[in-house]
Symmetry: C2
Subunit: 426 residues, 2 copies
C-alpha cells in the first residue's frame, strides 16, 4: 500500500508543461475579498441576456414537426442551417457580399476558442512559433504555452499599429537563426480586440497580406473576430481576410462567435476556412474531441438568426454596452486617472478598456498596486499577461461587461483611488 502511494504518475509533455491559468489566480485572489468588484472577467451583462427570447425559441423549436431532432446528435461540422447562417451574417458586412464560402468551409465549435485550439493543434508542434500581436488575447497565449508553442510578438509602431518593416526584420532574423521553418501561423484579433479594443485598419491588413505573400512559405493567418458584431454604433469598416485579395492565396482561418454577442452560456462559435484540407484536418480533431458541438444550442441560435431576432437583439445590446463603456470611461476621467499620466483609447466596441500607466508603474499580479486594488475591492487583469514576452508591466485590462452602472462607477472610483495611493507611496 505505502509503496503504491509513492509511485509517481508520469504525465505527457503537455501534462508537464501545464501551469494554472491566469483566471485561476484571479479567482483565487477574488475570493479573498467577497466585496470585490471585478473589472477583470470578460463576462457579458446578466441583465442583458436573452432568457425570454431563448425560452420562446425553445418552445417554437419544440412545436416544429420533428422538433425533437435538436436533441439528437448533429453533424461533426455543425448544423448545415447554422453554417449557412454564418455565411449569411458574414456576407452582410459591407464589402463582403461576394465572399466565396459555402457550408463546407465552416466548422461550428464550442465558442470560437475551440476553433483556435484545434487550428493550433493541427498547425503547430512543440517548439514552433506563432506570430501574435502586442498585446494579444491572453487565453490564446495560454493555449500556445500549453501546446509548447512559442508566441513571438509582431513589432508595433508608436500608435499601436503593426510595424510591417519591423515584422520583415523579425522574420529575417528568425530565418537567420534557422527558425523560419518553425513559424507556423500568424494570429491577430482584428475587431475591438481583446485586450486593446483596437480595430485593424483595412490598409494595414492588406499591407500585411502583401508582406506574407512575399514569404517563401505558406503562412496560415488566423483572424479572431470574436467582438466584430459587438460594435457600439457602426461596424468597423475593414473587410475580413476572407474578402481581401492579398489573402486569397494564403491559408486563412476566420474565427467568430455567438457566445459573446448573444449568450455566453450557449458556447457556440465557428470558424470559416476556405482551405478545405486545413479545415478537413480540423474536423478530424473535432471528431475526436467531441464529434460535434451541442445540436440543441446550435438549433436555438440558427432559429434566432434566421428569424431576424438575432439582429434585433444585437441592435438593442450594442448601445447598452456603448453606454456601459461611457460610464467606465467617464468615471475614470472624472476621478482623475488621466491627470496621473494614464492613457487609454475610447473603445468603439467590445467589452474592454485597455489602459496604459506611466512607464515604471507596475501592475503585475503580486505587485503592491495589485494587492492595494484587491484590498480596496477592485480587480483587473494585469496587462503583462497579454504580452507574449511577459512585458511591459504598465498596462491593465478593464472590463465593463458585467457590473451594473452604479458598480462600474464605484469600481472606477476604487481603481483610481488605488492608483492615487500608489503614486503617493512611490
Amino acid at each position: 500500500m505505502e509503496q503504491a502511494v509513492l509511485k509517481k504518475l508520469r504525465y505527457s509533455g503537455l501534462g508537464e508543461r501545464l501551469t494554472d491559468p491566469v483566471i485561476v489566480h484571479l479567482m483565487a485572489n477574488a475570493l479573498s475579498n467577497p466585496d470585490l468588484l471585478s473589472l477583470a472577467a470578460g463576462f457579458t451583462d446578466n441583465a442583458a441576456l436573452p432568457i425570454d427570447l431563448v425560452r420562446q425559441v425553445v418552445g417554437e423549436v419544440a412545436e416544429l414537426p420533428g422538433g425533437s431532432e435538436c436533441l439528437q446528435y448533429g453533424m461533426n461540422s455543425g448544423r448545415p442551417g447554422l453554417r449557412e447562417a454564418v455565411i449569411g451574417l458574414l456576407s452582410a458586412y459591407q464589402g463582403e457580399q461576394s465572399i466565396e464560402l459555402d457550408q463546407d468551409h465552416v466548422l461550428i465549435s464550442n465558442g470560437s476558442q475551440q476553433s483556435l485550439y484545434i487550428a493550433t493543434q493541427v498547425l503547430c508542434d512543440p517548439g514552433d512559433i506563432v506570430l501574435v500581436e502586442k498585446p494579444s488575447y491572453f487565453v490564446y497565449l495560454e493555449v500556445l504555452k500549453g501546446l509548447g508553442v512559442r508566441p513571438v510578438s509582431i513589432p508595433t509602431l508608436a500608435d499601436g499599429r503593426i510595424d510591417l518593416d519591423g515584422l520583415r526584420t523579425l522574420i529575417d532574423r528568425l530565418s537567420r537563426n534557422g527558425d523560419a521553418g518553425r513559424i507556423k501561423a500568424l494570429y491577430m484579433v482584428t475587431y475591438h480586440a481583446n485586450p486593446s479594443s483596437r480595430c485593424m485598419p483595412e490598409d494595414d491588413k492588406r499591407n500585411l497580406g502583401k508582406l506574407l505573400q512575399s514569404l517563401d512559405f505558406a503562412l496560415p493567418v488566423i483572424e479572431d473576430a470574436a467582438y466584430r458584431d459587438l460594435f457600439f454604433e457602426k461596424p468597423f469598416s475593414a473587410r475580413s481576410i476572407l474578402s481581401l485579395p492579398e489573402y486569397a492565396d494564403l491559408p486563412c482561418l476566420y474565427a467568430g462567435t455567438f457566445t459573446k454577442p448573444f449568450a455566453t452560456g450557449m458556447k457556440v462559435g465557428y470558424c470559416c476556412c476556405p482551405d478545405k484540407q486545413l479545415l478537413g484536418k480540423m474536423l478530424n480533431v473535432k471528431g475526436q474531441q467531441d464529434f460535434g458541438t451541442a445540436n440543441f444550442t446550435q438549433a436555438i441560435i440558427e432559429k434566432v438568426i434566421n428569424d431576424g431576432r438575432y439582429e434585433n437583439f444585437l441592435r438593442e445590446i450594442r448601445p447598452h454596452y456603448g453606454h456601459k463603456m461611457q460610464i467606465l470611461h467617464n468615471a475614470l476621467k472624472e476621478e482623475g486617472l488621466a491627470e496621473m499620466g494614464w492613457k487609454w483609447d475610447v473603445p468603439a466596441g467590445g467589452l474592454l478598456l485597455w489602459a496604459e500607466a506611466p512607464e515604471g508603474f507596475d501592475t503585475r499580479m503580486g505587485s503592491p498596486f495589485y494587492h492595494a486594488c484587491i484590498d480596496d475591492g477592485v480587480l483587473y487583469v494585469p496587462g503583462d499577461y497579454c504580452f507574449a514576452e511577459g512585458s511591459p508591466f504598465n498596462y491593465v485590462r478593464l472590463s465593463f461587461g458585467v457590473l451594473d452602472e452604479e458598480r462600474l462607477k464605484e469600481a472606477a472610483k476604487r481603481f483610481v483611488l488605488s492608483v492615487r495611493l500608489a503614486c503617493q507611496n512611490a
Copy 2:
C-alpha cells in the same frame, strides 16, 4: 500569384497523422443509397427524446430569480450543482453509497468524449501506449491514433473476459522491449460496452486492480461508463473503480455522460477523478479548449436530475430500448442468422448488438459482403475498427438505437439476406 499557390502548407505531427474518421467513410457509403437503413450510427431514438420535458424545464429555469444566469459563462469545471448531482447519481448505485468524491473531483465536459480526449492529452506523448480491451470503442482508438499513441490490446479469454495472466505476460514482454515506461493508461468500457455490450464482472475488475497495484509504476485507469445508466431491467451489479479498494492507490478516472441516456443533442458528460493533480491538469487543458461546457445545457440537466425527472425519464426509456433490442435480436434469429454460424450475446443494456460471423467471413469496409449490404440497403459498423490491431475481420456492430420497430425488422431481414447470399457465393 502562381508561385504563392505552389507553397505547401506545413502541418504539425498531429496534422500529418490525421486520416478521415471511420464515420466519414460510413456516411459517404450511406449517401450512395438513400434508402439505406442504418444499423451503424450509435444514435438514440428521436421518438424517445425528451423535447417536451426540455421545453418545460427551460421555462422553469427562465422563471427563476436570476434565471438568465444560465446564459452566462459558467465555471471551467462545470456547474457546482451539476457536479454535486453527478456524485449523487453515482452514489445511488448499489455498493457505491460511500464513494469518496466531492465537487472538486468532477469535471463537466462536452460529452464524456472530451474527458477521454483531454485525459489522453495529459497522460500520453506520441509513441506512448494505452492498453485497451479487445474489442474497444472505435472512436477512442481514433483519438489514440490522432495523438500518435499506440493502442495495445489486453488479451482475452475464450469467453471474452480479460485474460489477466495474458495481461501480465504482455506487460512483461513490453518491459523486456524497454516499452514498459511507455504504457501510460489502461482504458476500459465496463458497462454495456461499446461495441460488445459486455459488462465487466466485479471480480474481474478487482483482480485487474490487484495486478495493476503490483506493477512498479502508477498506471492510470480510465473507466468509460457511458452506457451504465442505460440498462434495460436492472443495473449491472459491479461497482465502479471509484469504490473498489484495489484501485484506491491508482490514478483513476471514471467517465460518464448524460448525452446517451438523456439527450445526445445536449452534449453534456463528465469525469470523476479523485487524483486532484491529474484532474487539475485536465482542467487546465479544458480551460484552453473552451473554458467550460455550455452553461445552458448544464443548467437544464442539473434541474431535471434534482427534480427527479431525469430518473423518471430513464425509467421510461430503459424498457423502450430493451424492447428495441429484442426486436432486432428476434428478427436476426427468425431470419436464420444463428443457423449460418453467427453468434451474439443478448445485451442487457446499451444500444448495440455485437455479432461474430464464422471465422473467415470478411465484414471489412470494402469487402464483398460490405458492398452487398449497401446494395441491399443496410449499413453496419465493420468490427475490425474496434480492434486495436485491426483484426479479426469477422465481427459487426449493429445499433438498435435509431430505427423504429418496422425498420429494425426490415434492416435485420436485409442484413441476414446479405449474409445468406455471401454464404451461397462463397
